[in-house]
């Protein structure tokens, strides 16, 4: 950190202290990238004692239910199928094994950086069916939608998407409707908001009288977000503020949203920890049904219990800390993960483990 940045951080910390003035406040960082940045930069140790940060449901892999992981594994093992996916999901345990172990059993699985790479694999393997695992929030959905449009235009017959996208505002509504959840403010996700716009959090702010600040990912951005939340709480306000204007506008990215709407429609979705939430997921529209792996293979999700003793469902809601899970860092480590929060690079347990917090 430069002296200049240090000065800014100290200034923000003293403003946070003034605003909280000893009053306990609990803020949720909704997004998994915020969780990682908060741990990496040591922000939790710098904050006044009365300010507590908890992690929310913003790690896409972590909120994918076990039954869906099982479906992905099942698809990957079908003959003639190549599964293309972001790397995070490979080691998330299904009910019997994970995708990485499916690979050892013969499944052809390729890790890609972009859905466009998956399309290229399909073009290069005309005799195979390429299934891209569409996991992610509003940030990822438009790139997957654009890829589906491209496959449709190019009349590609062997590319499909297994849609498992999730939408943030309905999940926050469901989360905050739980009477056991007691939060003073939300550090709203950065790049999800780039797409949906800061205004998307207005209903949540109004309904739950919840201060919301859209925040960037640099440590100074996060301190600024916390500072604005603490100031709102101290003034008794509950509005949506945007502390990440260089990347987020009030209305968001209309072009991307239009592409999402062309390809997908809202559908009920199951979340690990939160259960089924109305209109919190995306389903591929009928026009593009030949690109929908769920329809093509007729796969159905089975209800599968959480791994025994795993607290991920509670951790995702900010209702338990990793350290209160009896398996944390004993039976469950990044090398032998039991639940998804220990696997993903954005998972809360992985962050606690890596940075040695309790």
């Amino acid at each position: 950190m430069t002296d200049f940045a240090k000065g800014m951080a100290q200034g923000l910390l003293s403003k946070i202290k003034d605003a909280s003035s000893g009053k306990p406040m609990c803020f949720m960082e909704v997004c998994g990238t915020h969780t990682m940045s908060i741990f990496r930069s040591g922000i939790r140790k710098l904050l006044p004692r009365e300010i507590r940060l908890v992690s929310g449901p913003g790690c896409p892999v972590c909120v994918t239910p076990v039954g869906e992981i099982d479906q992905m594994i099942e698809l990957s093992l079908l003959p003639g199928v190549i599964t293309a996916t972001f790397g995070d999901i490979l080691r998330v345990p299904g009910s019997t094994y994970n995708l990485s172990e499916a690979r050892a059993r013969g499944a052809e699985i390729k890790v890609v950086y972009s859905p466009a790479d998956a399309l290229e694999i399909a073009e290069n393997n005309p005799d195979k069916k390429v299934v891209f695992l569409g996991i992610g929030f509003e940030t990822t959905a438009p790139s997957v939608a654009a890829t589906i449009l491209q496959a449709h235009r190019n009349k590609l017959k062997n590319f499909m998407v297994f849609p498992s996208h999730k939408l943030m505002p309905p999940a926050l509504d469901a989360l905050l409707s739980d009477p056991e959840i007691d939060m003073d403010g939300l550090i709203c996700p950065g790049h999800v908001s780039t797409i949906i716009g800061a205004r998307a959090f207005e209903p949540v702010a109004e309904k739950f009288q919840m201060p919301c600040v859209v925040t960037g990912f640099e440590p100074l951005d996060i301190l600024q977000g916390i500072c604005m939340l603490a100031q709102q709480v101290s003034r008794g306000e509950n509005m949506v503020e945007n502390a990440y204007r260089r990347a987020v506008s009030w209305d968001g990215n209309r072009r991307a949203r239009k592409i999402i709407e062309t390809v997908f429609k809202p559908a009920d979705a199951r979340w690990r920890g939160l259960g089924t939430i109305a209109r919190s997921g995306l389903e591929i529209r009928k026009k593009f049904r030949q690109l929908d792996a769920r329809r093509h293979f007729g796969t159905r999700e089975k209800t599968v219990p959480e791994p025994k003793g795993c607290q991920c469902a509670q951790i995702i809601k900010g209702m338990a800390l990793p350290s209160s899970c009896p398996m944390f860092s004993s039976a469950c480590t990044p090398l032998t993960p039991v639940g998804p929060c220990m696997v993903s690079s954005e998972g809360t347990c992985a962050a606690y483990y890596k940075y040695g917090e309790s």
Binding site: M8, G11, A116, S143, A145, T194, Q224
Partner: protein, 87 residues
Amino acid sequence: MCLAIPMKVTAIEGDQDDILIPPVATVEARGVTSRIRLDIVDRMPRVGDYVIVHAGFAIHTLAPEDARKSMALLQEMAGQTDDNQPR
């Protein structure tokens, strides 16, 4: 995982209205060069602009001065113009 660092656009091929061949930019940040798609970006960038990239697609274009503006805002938030703060 979100990439916090905006990437600088060094070259552009294609047009956002071409529905058959999606436009592509060459971008660069901290010595890493890659090619990214421009079909979902909010505003078509020009060479020299910065873009925020997610999963191989640009999702937002920012002009170089936007980044500077936000630094100024942070500075203000840090109390460097606040009379209550010790200088």
